[in-house]
Structure formats: structure tokens, C-alpha cells
Symmetry: C2
Subunit: 177 residues, 2 copies
């Protein structure tokens, strides 16, 4: 009974290889890297009784203050109901506030509070530290390669989402005059 099921297929004893041109090396690296990348904030979130979903909402509301619920759903690619619970908790705990839209009063613009801003920063800090460490000996060229790669991994139709953030690396700040 312990051995194997009666009519089971035979065990394959050779490791899967890069046959068929499958890039297992990067597939696996990506899995490990993302697992550890998310583990840092997870520990902080646990103190607040929050999960990864809260983190994502908090992140994007801080990155794009004033975005509407519909826009947030579109960025996160989850359903309204999934967002509802999480968003409600963030509002109840005063991390996020809703402001009625000016143009369209049906819309709720989402903004972080000072508390929400602080938490978003606290969550991003270890992740950024990890990235900085990983790029330690890398020059700007390597960094550019990595950014290009990650961007190219995103579905083309959705790449627009990435660029919504107000470019602020250069001197171009707010104000359009």
C-alpha cells in the first residue's frame, strides 16, 4: 500500500531539462526571487492584520493618489468584491480616504492619509533595500537591462499602466506652466 498505486504510471527518474528550449533556469529564479521579495513586507503586514492585498492597494493609492475604484480594479486585475473587503479595512483604519470626484460625483477618488503614506513607505523599504543589494555591483547599463527585461515580461496591452506614474526622476515636477 505504501509502494505505489495499482495502475499508476511509471516514475520518470530523469530531471526535466532545457530540452524543447524551455528556460527553466529563469523560470525558477523568478519564482524564488518573487517569493523572497514579498516575504519582507508580509511580516510587517502581519502586525497590522493585513495581507498582501492590502499592500498592493496601499501601494497603488500612494503611487497614483486620486485614482478611482475602477482604475484600481484595472491595475490590480481583481474583482470588485475582492477589492471591497480590503479597501474597506484600509478606510476604516484610516490609511486611505475617499473623496467624491469633482468632475464626476459618482467616482470615489482614493487618497492615502499620513498614516497610509507611512505604512506604504515602511513596506517598500525592505523591498527597496533588497533591490539595492541585488544591484550592488551593477552599473546603470545593467540596471537598464533589468528594467527593460521586467517591462518586456508584462503583457503589451498593460504596459501603459506602468507609465501612469508621474515621471519624477527628471526635473519635470508638477505644474504644467
Amino acid at each position: 500500500m505504501t509502494e505505489r498505486s495499482p495502475a499508476a504510471g511509471k516514475p520518470i527518474r530523469t530531471a526535466i531539462t532545457d530540452e524543447d528550449g524551455i528556460d527553466f533556469a529563469i523560470i525558477e529564479l523568478f519564482f524564488f526571487a518573487y517569493r523572497d521579495f514579498t516575504s519582507d513586507p508580509d511580516q510587517i503586514l502581519a502586525d497590522y492584520g493585513f495581507g498582501r492585498a492590502h499592500h498592493r492597494v496601499l501601494h497603488f493609492v500612494n503611487r497614483r493618489p486620486g485614482l478611482t475604484v475602477a482604475e484600481l480594479l484595472d491595475v490590480l486585475k481583481i474583482t470588485k468584491q475582492s477589492l471591497a473587503r480590503v479597501l474597506k479595512q484600509l478606510i476604516d483604519t484610516d490609511h486611505i480616504v475617499q473623496v467624491q470626484g469633482l468632475r464626476d460625483r459618482r467616482q470615489r477618488e482614493l487618497y492615502p492619509t499620513a498614516k497610509g503614506r507611512a505604512l506604504a513607505l515602511a513596506l517598500a523599504r525592505p523591498q527597496s533595500r533588497r533591490i539595492r543589494a541585488a544591484l550592488e555591483d551593477s552599473g546603470t547599463a545593467e540596471r537598464a537591462s533589468i528594467e527593460r527585461f521586467l517591462e518586456a515580461m508584462v503583457n503589451p496591452e498593460l504596459r501603459a499602466q506602468i507609465d501612469i506614474v508621474p515621471a519624477q526622476t527628471s526635473g519635470k515636477k508638477n505644474g504644467d506652466h
Copy 2:
């Protein structure tokens, strides 16, 4: 009532920036990239009634045939109970077989069946295609940078897990004579 909660904090209307040296650009790219990276296999898995957990188990059993349950738990960093259901389903559907360990008969060595091997390949294919497309115009140097970066993102203590896979890029196959 629609406006804002009574004693809520004031909305912050400026976007979070790279102040404090936080690398939001890569944090966000990593999120989008991983989201889309996992979306391809998710669709295939749905046809089988499987989820992401099944994928991960299937992947590692194919990559390291003969690994034990304990080793698998260590790689996936999940608990026994989380693995149990998923593994049971994969065994019941004849994707994976257990073989009693030779050295230690308490251990169950896990092997893919032909069916399990085929599914693992089918799941990896779109991911590999996406990676290849993302690396399209990249040379070997860029690829190396990206691999180095991803590896450096993994917790140092756990980097050993990555190297367990039998190196097979070079001619060194099985057999030690």
C-alpha cells in the same frame, strides 16, 4: 456621508516619490512582471481544476525527481498540510507517483509520470516563450545580468536550493565514470 469619514486623516494628494531612496520603479515592475508571468499557466491549470500550488509541486518534482516530501516542503516554504491536499490530487490523477525510499523506507520519493512530465512541460512552455520574447534583443551579457540580479534577490541562505538542479547545460550528464 459619501464625502469622507468624520475624523479621518487628510488626503495626501502628492504621489509617493523616490524620496528616501525607495526604488518604486523596480518594485512595481516586479509586481506586474510576475503577475503576467503566472497568468499563462493559470489558464491551462484551470482546465485541470488545478491551481498555482499544483504547478509549483509539479515543477519541482520534475526538476528534482526523487526528492522527498520534506525536501519539497523546504523548497516551497509551505506547511505539510498545505502540500498534502495538492500532492494527493496530483497522485490521484496520476501525475506524480511515490516510491518508498531505498536508504530510508520512511521517505517517499516523488517522481513525475509521463503524464506529469507532459503537463509540467505544457505549463512551462508559455512562460519560457514570454522569457524568450523579453530577452529577444538581449545578448548573453544582458542575460547574465538578469540571472545575477534574480539570484541576488533570493535570500542568501536559500540560494543553495537553486543549485540543486543537476547542471546539464554542459556535457556533464549522468553517470560518474
